[in-house]
């Protein structure tokens, strides 16, 4: 019932401020959403989802949903909308050359994220600083975004692009699960993301994500005792921790250790010294923390706190966010104490 209330916007709109408001909205073409569509229809359907018409499939992805300044579209639109409930997507201007959409301000891709697989699962760690051409836009952003219970994605690049594509990926994985009645593997999710990002290659879209997940393997029906052994053998190959790096330039790599972002070289040097398959969970957490700490120390675009996520066969768990400046003071104190002991 709650959904019905939300979807029946016409009641809301009859009471709302002005009647010019909807047409003005359409004239401005602020994009398609539920609210602008409804005043033009009298349907009693409960669910008004936006179903994009097929024309957008012919458009270049960079033209999709772009705001146009031409006014002749709006008249055609008003006529059309008496028939259909949904504002039409604009037909694209003749695309002689693909023009990149200009960014509102220059963005830098500063971050330190890392992920590695070990015997206890996958560990993902990231800093929390969002920078924007030399200033810290947000000191407490979240760069590790959970996608579903057994898959987590670290993000690097443009924050908005990463947030959007993470949501699109979650949606597509959920649809896959509903349609095919099984969970898509981490490799499959990585391939899906890579293929979705491919049309945007050459544009200013920048997403560099590592997908960290646990593959459950095949769920077979009961076998005999001999079969059970074979099952275990098969499960060893198909299930377990998985780590994939996906980048908007088209790279898709499977591996056991990745670090992405402007602070990644600093993190790599710490991780390469200590990451082994046989680490315990505590050892792995401490080396991940140390790597992010060192990277945030040296890299101007990384800093503030560190987030750590641990993915196992039972799902992901999140460690409490830790402020790294405390760690800096603790280390300084430790060094001073050591120096005093050496001198004494």
């Amino acid at each position: 019932m709650a959904l019905q209330d939300i979807c029946n916007f016409q009641d809301i709109f009859v009471d709302s401020s002005t009647t010019e408001c909807p047409s003005a909205l359409l004239g401005k073409k602020t994009g398609c959403n539920y609210v602008s569509a409804l005043p033009f229809q009298n349907s009693t359907s409960l669910f008004n989802f936006r179903i994009p018409l097929a024309e957008y499939l012919d458009e270049s992805p960079t033209q999709f949903g772009q705001i146009s300044t031409s006014q002749d579209h709006s008249t055609a639109l008003l006529q059309e909308s008496t028939i259909s409930c949904f504002p039409l997507p604009l037909s694209p201007p003749p695309a002689a050359s693909s023009q990149a959409v200009p960014l509102p301000f220059p963005m830098s891709h500063g971050t330190t994220t890392l992920a590695f697989a070990f015997q206890g699962g996958v560990l993902a760690a990231a800093d929390t600083r969002s920078s924007c051409s030399g200033l810290v836009a947000c000191p407490a952003s979240q760069k590790i975004l959970p996608i579903h219970s057994h898959l987590v994605s670290t993000t690097s690049g443009t924050s908005a692009d990463c947030a959007l594509w993470k949501r699109i990926l979650s949606r597509e994985l959920r649809l896959y699960q509903l349609r095919h009645r099984r969970q898509l593997s981490t490799g499959g999710a990585a391939k899906l993301l890579s293929h979705m990002l491919h049309p945007f290659k050459g544009t200013k879209l920048c997403v560099a994500a590592t997908l960290c997940g646990w593959d459950g393997g095949e769920v077979d029906g009961g076998h005999g005792t001999g079969g059970a052994q074979a099952d275990l053998g098969g499960c060893m190959k198909t299930c377990g921790p998985r780590l994939f790096y996906v980048c908007s330039d088209g790279t898709r790599l499977q591996g056991t250790l990745f670090s992405v972002g402007s602070g990644s070289p600093y993190a790599y040097s710490i991780l390469d010294q200590g990451v082994k398959w046989g680490l315990t969970v505590d050892e792995a957490t401490s080396i991940a923390r140390e790597a992010v700490y060192r990277a945030t120390h040296r890299d101007a675009y990384s800093g503030n706190n560190v987030d750590i996520y641990h993915i196992t066969s039972t799902g992901w768990t999140r460690r409490n966010r830790e402020d790294l400046k405390e760690e800096y003071y603790r280390e300084k104190e430790r060094k001073e104490r050591k120096m005093r002991l050496d001198m004494a």
Binding site: S60, S97, S98, S194, H198, K201, G202, Y245, C247, D249, G250, T251, R252, L253, G255, F258, S264, P265, Y268
Partner: protein, 199 residues
Amino acid sequence: MEYLIGIQGPDFVLVAADNVAASSIIQMKHDYDKMFKLSEKILLLCVGEAGDTVQFAEYIQKNVQLYKMRNGYELSPSAAANFTRKNLADYLRSRTPYHVNLLLAGYDDTDGPGLFYMDYLSSLAKAPFAAHGYGAFLTLSILDRYYRPDLTRDEAVDLLKKCAEELNKRFILNLPSFTVRLIDKEGIRDLEKITLGTK
């Protein structure tokens, strides 16, 4: 940055590729395989721009498989090479050209072994030996000097090792290991990886 090499013998083709997947100055992967199996006796080695390589190679791979499913027999290496070149050429003057350099190596039951060199401008040449990448500048003259059309398999592997050692000595970038594969009438076989320590 990346390196591909192929050597054709009287009844085999030997191919090798480096194993580094790099992103600006960082080696993201040390064991990356740049060879794509198109069919039982055809390998496509692909280097170039990051996403284009995998996308293009998989596209060719799936189309070759589709041909086999539709017609019941496989494309010959020469046909596969020409198909690949045609696709490169079609995309060359579009908005999204594929920037990839390729070596296609295969064994045809009627024509014997074949090595085809293709580059991002969609040129195609059947060659007895070929190499791609900056490493090619250093190793092509070694191949010119020591290549003979009647090389045995072992001699070809030795020639490959000579090239790898030269790269290790003079090439500014570190390419520590190479995947090596051999194609003959039996099919595609994995040979031992060539790994070099720092000299």
